[in-house]
Subunit: 215 residues, 6 copies
Amino acid sequence: MKIVVVNPNSNQAVTDGISEALEPYRLTGGPSIECLTLQQGPFGIESQADIEAVTLPLRDLVTERADADAFVIACYSDPGIHVCREAAQVPVYGIQECGALMASSRGDRFGVIALSPASIRRHLRYLRQLQLIDRLAAERAADLSVAESGQGGDTLDRLVEAGVALRDRDSADVIILGCAGMARNRVPLEDRLGIPVIDPTQAAVAMAMGGLLVS
Amino acid sequence: MKIVVVNPNSNQAVTDGISEALEPYRLTGGPSIECLTLQQGPFGIESQADIEAVTLPLRDLVTERADADAFVIACYSDPGIHVCREAAQVPVYGIQECGALMASSRGDRFGVIALSPASIRRHLRYLRQLQLIDRLAAERAADLSVAESGQGGDTLDRLVEAGVALRDRDSADVIILGCAGMARNRVPLEDRLGIPVIDPTQAAVAMAMGGLLVS
Amino acid sequence: MKIVVVNPNSNQAVTDGISEALEPYRLTGGPSIECLTLQQGPFGIESQADIEAVTLPLRDLVTERADADAFVIACYSDPGIHVCREAAQVPVYGIQECGALMASSRGDRFGVIALSPASIRRHLRYLRQLQLIDRLAAERAADLSVAESGQGGDTLDRLVEAGVALRDRDSADVIILGCAGMARNRVPLEDRLGIPVIDPTQAAVAMAMGGLLVS
Amino acid sequence: MKIVVVNPNSNQAVTDGISEALEPYRLTGGPSIECLTLQQGPFGIESQADIEAVTLPLRDLVTERADADAFVIACYSDPGIHVCREAAQVPVYGIQECGALMASSRGDRFGVIALSPASIRRHLRYLRQLQLIDRLAAERAADLSVAESGQGGDTLDRLVEAGVALRDRDSADVIILGCAGMARNRVPLEDRLGIPVIDPTQAAVAMAMGGLLVS
Amino acid sequence: MKIVVVNPNSNQAVTDGISEALEPYRLTGGPSIECLTLQQGPFGIESQADIEAVTLPLRDLVTERADADAFVIACYSDPGIHVCREAAQVPVYGIQECGALMASSRGDRFGVIALSPASIRRHLRYLRQLQLIDRLAAERAADLSVAESGQGGDTLDRLVEAGVALRDRDSADVIILGCAGMARNRVPLEDRLGIPVIDPTQAAVAMAMGGLLVS
Amino acid sequence: MKIVVVNPNSNQAVTDGISEALEPYRLTGGPSIECLTLQQGPFGIESQADIEAVTLPLRDLVTERADADAFVIACYSDPGIHVCREAAQVPVYGIQECGALMASSRGDRFGVIALSPASIRRHLRYLRQLQLIDRLAAERAADLSVAESGQGGDTLDRLVEAGVALRDRDSADVIILGCAGMARNRVPLEDRLGIPVIDPTQAAVAMAMGGLLVS
């Protein structure tokens, strides 16, 4: 069994960070987990135009990879999720959707750390579509680019600042990282905040595994 | 790492069915999965009194098993979920909650097959509390006892009948088995319906694994 | 006709305060109102474990008192409400539920004064289950123990502080006392705030009387 | 203490039926209950124009009756409720609002029996404004005039027919009479249906008593 | 074709400001737009009593003006909207309703500038009835009388102050003027805020035109 | 002033039908209305893949047509609405959004006639995102292709059948045509149903005019 995780941006460092974060999910006897970079993708997905640019390439990839038993689209905007589901013979998981669902099993209200204010409105619109908005405590921006999101140092400090505000001012019980690129900061952020921090790509892979290991 | 799955009723056949359904989740390098029968539990949990009878024994068990890294309460009413979470140092997953969350990653609207009409009102009340009610297509009863739920033959026919109604009349995209005891019927029911069927205990174990495999 | 009001904690002073607050409801020709202390209850109900500890004793009491025409469970967490309703032949009223319903007849949005922050999350979960959460302006904690809640002086000052914030910052039109033990502070608090203050036990008894006086 | 109950239509037989239904609430030591007929009102309130015709006369009445400690507007459309509340120094209760609130203390979902289909849309609009619509199982019309509503025989049969549909098809746990004129049919209807039937005027008077008996 | 716009207050200056703001909608071949002052109306509609005072005069006007193809009730409280719709043979548009609908086509969340705090509660109640409340960012008061609302200078400054708060603190994408009298300030306010500002009377006339120009 | 209406499918007959339906909106002194066919579009937009195929071409068109003062995307799935709004300097209107908003000004609950069952799930998802789903009575499919939608005869009969069910079984007060291609059937359908029928492209153009005619 194989789960194909697609990073829709063309930043290989982001894909590497994702693959590293998924290492614990590669278990003997379990599904293999392959992480791909969408070559046609922009370097970072930061606008609606970036999203639209990858929907059909993702659909093509999903159609071509007939060996996959499940797909994960590893960008927090869940680009192309509906067209990929229409095209695929197997389940397709979006990381925003799965991050919100997994977080809902860990706390009453989840907070989200977004890269930038511009993405928050887009995320909220999608949570409304999913009818999961009532579980949202709040979403706050850390003012980072996709490229910065996987770094430490100042990036971690900004994530901590947003996380503390979500925890203390907005009463969030659990925090979701609002970008696949933030994966490497999950552990240190959770240590600093003292409440669960969800990497949405890990959440999506866990749910994909759950869907496969059912025989 | 160890996940402890507790069947709150004292019917060992139900525990055995649960453990069997979880066999695919026992992977080398992954968490061990131990299935327990709550000795103090009633033979089946079919009333609110049955639920209340197990909340404190579950809390005690959760407190005593300091070796567990996560707990799953394997009864669809999620008995004692709040008191166990208050008591435990580790995550506690309820199968109704996780069944609904996992199903939400597989379709727009989920249908639920309950044992009996009496349990539906209780389940709906809980879905409202979880604010997941808007994802529910409908819940229908198969008119079975807990003991009957794991059998084949007529039991499967009744599950199929309820599933067909949920799929065709209520537009459910995915079906949740509304009792841990139904696990053995997941595969044949999915074959008959042609849409995903979620065993909520499998869903909860997958989410528990997701919470543990985060390095 | 007889209404049995049960204080689920074993603090007789709380029961006495409740009974005193109900004195105006003891009318010639109307139902008698008997206030009981649940001997098996903890001294104060301040945790989920405290709640679970009283559900079955309450159920037993409700079953045994065949002379009652209605029951009121006088703890703001409405412990055991569902199991008591399942067991009783007569109506069972919870004070959180009735407090919210009565307050809804007095203003557009109600505010709640809780004993402690820890209880707020529990209360909100229940208001969501009741689908009355949209009438809530906000809930604020006065940081009091059950034992302190019935005292004056500093206790009243803290209630006033929370009430002023609910009225002025959260636009609450009416305030609910979020603990049966606060009953003695209802009149002075209403005097200080200038908007209606609801004692939820009085509210539940009024609704119980309404259910009985229907000939 | 005095509760003034105003029948906004000019049909004295309706007022008499209301007063008769309130007889059990007239208790020694409790508030007196005076039932008035609004002389300027139409013979039955069956249209939006009928409602608008009584709002200012009700406001005048509320202003003039300075001896009242609470008012109940005994028409299921709650005509003039906002202007009366603006004008009055004391609480003003609407029977649709109180019927829904009282019913919510007796069951998970309430059904409503309306006089005619035309009134249902108006009632639903108001329940949405009150944010109580989520507790509604359904509303069904019995196809009666205000004048017919208080009679027995065929009227009762039609109420039973609507009530059975609400109970069995719509899963209502409790029924609200959607017209003050139906009061005399409450007892026989409850006998026939076997679930609680709420007369909304009784509900409003019970809540008004609850607001007064607080010393 | 003719659209009759009724100003329900008797302040001719308000009617003149409305008519002036509608000048661009008077197109050759399009419907004529006639603006009327309701002579029986109060000088400003600032209370619930003011609203009730105009409902039946509006109904009479709507009934008498058989030459109209559509009516617009140009007061932000949408007084008499239901009774006018009941009476009229042609569509009747309320400006609060149309303002919220038109604003919803221009941004994700709309903010409203009310004259006074007292009117906010009334407006929110109505938005709940319309089930448009979820699109509301917030409503803030500019503390103006109806008479002041159409002036410039200090009035404009107060509108700007409220608008800035709605835009920056409440994340409103579009602003609605919460009084027909504010029409003359729409252009300068939009210039100052840099986001769309909706005059609700213009919105209602545009929607009325849309309903008429369908051949 | 100019409104550019884009038909995202490449079926010129659909564009012609749209332009014809918009003829009454072309008024002397008002904005000109230009109807375009998106040459790159598929012959009909009937799947999610069809939608994704037009999003960037629509964005390009919106960017290139600097002479437009407003755009209307004339496909009921509102393809590319978010990316076009991101790119455009002027307002962009989607016809599903405007159809629902305009219909909300004409009745309490709107019904929608979709081409096919497959499109209903997509439309509902979008109405949830818009938070307009609570105004929906129901959506029913007429089982037509885009090409058939503009014809008469059997097409009209199927629209009438769906419309009657929406009106009588689902209590819709107003009907929305769920495809731009149905425009030519608006008048005969309204005649047959006796309740308002909204052509969503007309609705969007009316709202665009409203946004332009503000001086």
